[in-house]
Symmetry: C3
Subunit: 466 residues, 3 copies
């Protein structure tokens, strides 16, 4: 079933070992404990143990960690025959990306005497960067080999760090929850990659490019975890005190409003008023994405709910009316619909952030302005800050689209072992699926083998019920 | 398959949008950041960032949040054909209820110059109130439309806030983990609703009103998360310091003892000594419910274990011997058996709380008395406090039963689109279930369609083996 | 299907009730709140609420708690017909073990005027001890009755406490994450038990001793939770401040490196380059085990990654080449392959800890030395500390192997109701599995009953669709 090109016997081990060995060497040469994780440095000064940032951020870090490995991993298990690949490749590329991101972000965030200092905040940032890669993974899900995914992750992490550096460091843009740096970047990067990797004959695998009852249940595990912990995601690296508190709360209300909008729109856009799991699993999360930039600002719960509501509406409409055209007109095959969950809501979040920033006043923020908009305290006007926020969105889109195009071309290299058009969305090509397992799964996917017998064909059903 | 009345095409969107728009307007008019989430107010005073309640309570909040969305949601997925409805409607009504609860509780907990101030503690309280609604959901699971559920949530949240206000504010009753306000209230409210909605012909759907192997596995995800995080639930809003610490620990031991009692009783009450998943999934949690009132008191681990043990015994006996009679004699069709998990253990917890309060002494509590029983410090006698606790239980039962009856009548309105007796416990009526998915599920529920062919009938098995 | 000996109708209730009653009596006689959970003691002194250890450790405790109940529980659900037993018995023995461990560890860790004082740290230690029992459970999974498991837990917890006391208290060995005390002990104890319980005719159940597609998906839930929260596990009881921070970070990088090694080795050792779920589910976790001793030391991220990488390589090689020989040559039937996940990586972790300790210098640790190596501050040389660490490993292996042999003999007692060779790895013997459920599961395990009819034979499928 696997021909030479898709056989990972040597390709995957070589890629994994080379990458990990490079990582280990670079960590040995460049990475040091920061003053909060180093035994000697920490004990040099006298301070309360609570001054250690670990206690401010570790609970948030673990919530983010769950979103990355369980949230993203299981959200993508909706495909009937790709559960191993969804959770398993998510696991692999995330484990690689967080190490590589530590180096890339450490390099751009500023070295200390030629060394990268790491602690819980760098761990959170590494997970954030990884999230961006996993969003792109969603666009190409089922159509790429693990080697392609690792290569993509390596380049995407690097470009993510560059873009993040330009926005946060050079332009003084605020984007705590990453509407721009994480969601917009990851989505449009992935969409460009999948565009370049366009498969005209992908319909040869369309019988597996859908969910079954139990796979939708597994996917809901991912959805709910992402939904619950998004307040921690957006607040994980905001300033201590009111900022973390406010950001978490704004996101909480944005998501709640988004969920009602999603259910309403899902029923409204269905011909028979039945809810569509694709909308529930994805659009209900758009409120978290859209609150990623403005969540730390004085958006108010009222504002957060409006933003979340709009995000839910846009996302469902995207799934229903835009995605089909993206594929037919623009040849963008977006497996998970990341454009609807991360792309458009990310852009919305960036715009909301720009507007909210442009109306920031000392009267509202008081001394807290320094936490949220240090540049404004340093003299930049609120409207200018808003302009920089908008500029940040434009730069993010530019780097994501250009980078995605280049990386897409690189990934076309046949040696990376992409699956043939007839065996996409199929675990059996890269995973050992026991005969029992195969049969089992065949049984409940109505699929006997990898030939393309259409699912539940009428006469089959008839005989089935005779 | 869906006739006009159960078609949600317009009913659900209209309900969701009207409710959310009302929420947004009221939030805009009434809700403000409290001094810990407002940038200006927080920075007005000088204090350590750790003084922000966020760091005391956010980890507990997230555990509670997981219980509400994963715990309750997956606990109810035990039904073979109602996984989407269990997790999905749980998600919808919880997202609505937490917003509505913010307003109702804020209103009763005291306005500040006409404004409701919110922060992490109000978020926890909103989740608590939501939990109560989800308990009632368990009683009517599979027999109600999403519109009915949203209407029920709106009324129940309101009555919850009234009852909570009477108990905690007017009577000075202690109920940190909500044995009374959350569990007893939610259970008896839901039982009364399902009584009013009694369906004499529900047995037409009985072939779907049971679990299958994989659905019991999904349900265990809910059970285990509820069990693990119950210590966080009961301690989430207790006083800082020893109180949170003690409450979590008491609950931890109560649950452990309850689990052994549950396994023992489950085997003992089975004719062939085989464990029943229904008991494990539910009764093992009764120890958390029963520790909801006394958990913050000086119950001692010893006392907690006795309470947990009793709760487990009562709960299993309820499932085995009481539930059948509730349906046959009292016409109460309690899908999830909430009477056994939340009803009786809730009452037990209230009684334990009253007794524990009535023996409270300064000798045992010392200065800590002010955290646990401020009324006693203010002069109320311990026995009087115990009396008030008992009174709180009586009031809770009264409001729950009366409220449930009224709301049940309201929910009978045909326009709300309840499913017919023949299509209860069935996702396909409100959810898009792909043909593949249907077939799949049919395949593994032995159910060909929505007619009532008995499951796994012998001759079917025979032919099945030819 | 269940004969007298395996009927749990009386055996399980008697065991559960006697054990729980003994626990309750002993708790009543011996257990008291510590000064951080007792209302009076805590309020006797003036201090910040944050001084309460609850706020330092409760988030870590909950992560550990999730690993014990969800992580271990679901990791073992990979068996096609043993999902109830994996999660359910894990739940039962863990609930018992954490209570019993509280007493045993409290006894050995030092009584206060004849009383055991408990709080969040004792809760974490109880969960740790429980983890060790669950590792042993993995070795005998599917071949033991719940009564046997409770008896095993009772003895193992006791021996665990003895071994832990010798290492940590008498020898001053450091083992914060339990590479020795938890993983090595649990693995070799369990391996010895399963050796004594050797079943020459176990192949009569081999048709159920494997996974199916959906059971591998459930198992991944366990794997990912163990992987994500391992940093919390290793850092849960290390000293406040830099120690907890550093330990979590070292573990984070060790696991990431381990994951790449696992994927590489899994593909490399497969004849067709396909990834094996057994490796991904287990070997990817070896990095956490191997960082259990040295994680709190100044191992550096660089060192942690090397350790994790080696652990992953060793673990996959163990599954591929060692396990088969353990069964054929040494008659060790290790259901979950705990030797590869906990045994060898645990020994590796112990060795790494000994080496790291032997090179500890004040120049590196500064004032922090007192947190990590108090014995060295008291005058013990680093190399001596390393020697003690190695001695700790030897003692652990000795107690585990000897204890496992004795307990194995005890468990052979027929009355404990072990399943016959023909009905191992089968839920139906101890669990009520509804006919529907049976059929369902039959349907997707292709297994009609407990005979060995080959799976998914063509004509079966045909008749199925007639």
């Amino acid at each position: 079933m696997t021909d030479a090109s898709t056989n990972m016997r040597l390709k995957l081990p070589v890629t994994c070992f080379i990458l990990e060995i490079i990582l280990i060497i670079l960590f040995g040469a460049l990475v040091e404990y920061d003053h909060e994780t180093d035994a000697k440095l920490w004990h040099n000064q006298t301070h309360s143990d609570y001054d250690n940032d670990f206690y401010y951020r570790y609970p948030s870090f673990q919530d983010v960690h769950v979103m990355i490995f369980i949230g993203f991993g299981f959200l993508m298990t909706f495909l009937q025959r790709y559960g191993f690949g969804s959770v398993g490749f998510n696991f692999l590329i995330a484990a690689f990306a967080l190490q590589w991101a530590t180096l890339m972000q450490g390099f751009f965030h500023g070295m200390h005497h030629g060394k990268i200092h790491i602690g819980v905040e760098s761990m959170i940032n590494a997970d954030f960067c990884t999230g961006s890669v996993l969003i792109s993974f969603g666009a190409v899900l089922g159509k790429t080999s693990p080697v392609q995914l690792l290569i993509m992750a390596m380049f995407e992490v690097t470009l993510f760090a560059v873009n993040e550096y330009i926005l946060l460091t050079l332009l003084g843009v605020k984007d705590a929850g990453g509407s721009m740096t994480i969601h917009t970047f990851g989505a449009y990067f992935g969409l460009m990659v999948t565009r370049v990797l366009y498969r005209p004959n992908l319909d040869k695998s369309k019988n597996r490019n859908c969910s079954v009852y139990h796979s939708d249940m597994f996917a809901m595990i991912g959805t709910i975890y992402l939904w619950m912990f998004w307040p921690s995601f957006n607040s994980a690296i905001t300033a201590h005190g009111d900022d973390q508190h406010r950001t978490a709360m704004n996101t909480y209300y944005s998501l709640a409003a988004c969920t009602l909008a999603t259910y309403g729109m899902s029923a409204l856009t269905a011909h028979d008023g039945k809810l569509d799991m694709v909308h529930i699993q994805n659009a209900a999360l758009a409120g978290g994405v859209a609150a990623g930039t403005a969540g730390e600002m004085m958006l108010t719960p009222f504002g957060s709910m409006i933003v979340g509501f709009l995000a839910g509406v846009i996302s469902v409409l995207g799934f229903k009316y835009l995605s089909p055209h993206l594929e037919s007109k623009l040849k963008i095959q977006d497996t998970c619909g990341v454009h609807n969950l991360h792309g458009m809501p990310g852009v919305l979040g960036a715009i909301v952030g720009a507007v909210t920033a442009s109306v920031a006043t000392m009267d509202v923020y008081g001394e807290g302005m320094n936490d949220v908009f240090p540049e404004i305290v340093k003299g930049r006007s609120a409207s200018t800050q808003g302009g920089y926020q908008a500029l940040g969105l434009a730069i993010t889109l530019g780097i994501a689209l250009l980078g995605g195009a280049i990386v897409g071309v690189i990934l076309k290299t046949p040696i990376f072992g992409a699956p043939p058009d007839t065996i996409c969305f199929e675990d059996n090509i890269y995973w050992e699926v026991s005969l029992t397992g195969r049969e089992v799964d065949s049984d409940f996917t109505e699929q006997r083998d990898l030939t393309l017998t259409p699912y539940g064909s009428p006469q089959r059903l008839k005989t089935h019920h005779q």
